[in-house]
């Protein structure tokens, strides 16, 4: 099981029900298949309908969408592709390195100025 440190991703993964099988199909299809089987088994039941049977799936999908809509941090993270994020991370690392180099240069200059 893949444990995610990011709380937003972990929550979405839990809602989509693919925590234990991240590389396989979600659990929606088996559930849908079972609902179709129940409907086929008893087609004359008035309370049996696919819409009712799949209401839990649709509810979880709506929860997932609402969570993304309400969470700006989650939108920012998932709004870029992984390759874009790689470039962004590299850029930020370079900027950080430049800042560190500046501080290092400043430290050397101060060391030269200060008496031994």
């Amino acid at each position: 099981m893949t444990s995610l440190e990011n709380e937003h991703l972990a929550h979405l993964q839990m809602l989509l029900g693919s925590g234990s099988r991240s590389h396989q199909a979600s659990e929606f299809i088996p559930q849908l298949y079972y609902s179709l089987y129940q409907l086929k088994k008893d087609p004359n039941s008035t309370s049996n309908s696919l819409k009712t049977a799949t209401s839990s799936i649709r509810h979880r999908l709506k929860q997932c969408k609402a969570y993304i809509e309400q969470n700006g941090e989650c939108q920012e993270l998932l709004g870029r592709s992984c390759s874009e994020w790689e470039k962004t991370l590299a850029q930020r690392e370079r900027e950080l390195e430049v800042k560190r180099q500046l501080l290092k240069d400043l430290q050397e200059r101060v060391s030269k100025l200060s008496p031994a």
Binding site: N6, L9, I29, S49, K62, K65, K99
Partner: protein, 251 residues
């Protein structure tokens, strides 16, 4: 993405920026697409007209959704790196802020210290001023001292006269034998005016100044009369002018 577009058009009014940010989220589009196809499939099944193409589309949407979810681990790593970078950036900025504060404090402190040229100029000016003693400063100082200066307590203002001094009064000195002798000595050469004496004077001038006799010890008031010693000296010098003006018996 058509599902995403339909959702955005049918959903509550949101800002354009939020729409764009939602449109960029891949998982949001996949969920919306899956939701829409599922709804269409359920409607067709409930109407007893199952649409197999919708079932196929649903399977494909499910695969897309699964692929999007499978990227969560990568996004999780990215989020961890971002968090780490943000932490490092915050530390660096805090360090920079502290360094800037220290530098500003050092700058202010250096500015508060006078320059060496200014110090030298002020020192030279002060030394020049010290060399001059102004009269008003001197008088002020004298006035200050006068407030705390008194006549010696042993001095008796009421008793006027030479009895209070170890030396004779000036009037007594002027009337004394020494004064008379000096007057006579200065008057005689003018009265006499002889050439022999002038030659003697010339000789003495040629010989130069007479050797200076060592001065006697200064008088020490010890209550003893040392007139004998003085008379002996007078005999040695060949003159007895009775010039001992001091009489210790007067005290």
């Amino acid at each position: 993405m058509s599902a995403l577009g339909s959702h955005l058009s049918s959903g509550p009014k949101e800002s354009t920026q939020e729409d764009n940010s939602l449109f960029k989220v891949e998982i949001y589009g996949c969920v919306s697409e899956f939701e829409e196809i599922l709804s269409e499939l359920a409607t067709s099944v409930d109407r007893f007209k199952p649409d197999l193409s919708k079932a196929q589309e649903l399977v494909e949407a499910d695969q897309k959704l699964s692929q999007a979810v499978s990227k969560f681990s990568t996004y999780d790593e990215i989020a961890s790196k971002l968090k780490d970078l943000d932490k490092q950036r915050a530390e660096t900025e805090q360090q920079t802020t502290q360094i800037l504060e220290v530098l500003i404090a050092c700058h202010d402190e250096l500015n508060s210290i006078p320059m060496i040229e200014q110090v030298e100029f002020e020192r030279n000016t002060m030394l020049n001023e010290r060399q001059k003693v102004h009269s008003n400063v001197l008088l002020d100082y004298a006035m200050k001292l006068a407030k705390f200066t008194h006549v010696p307590p042993t001095f008796d203002k009421t008793a006027v006269g030479p009895n209070n001094f170890i030396w004779p009064a000036e009037d007594a000195m002027r009337r004394g034998m020494l004064a008379m002798a000096s007057i006579m000595a200065s008057a005689e050469p003018r009265v006499m005016g002889s050439g022999a004496e002038e030659t003697v004077d010339d000789d003495t001038d040629l010989k130069g100044p007479e050797p200076v006799h060592p001065r006697g010890t200064s008088f020490e008031f010890n209550g003893q009369h040392n007139g004998g010693e003085n008379s002996k000296n007078a005999e040695e010098s060949g003159m007895d002018l009775d010039l001992d003006l001091f009489n210790p018996d007067e005290f």
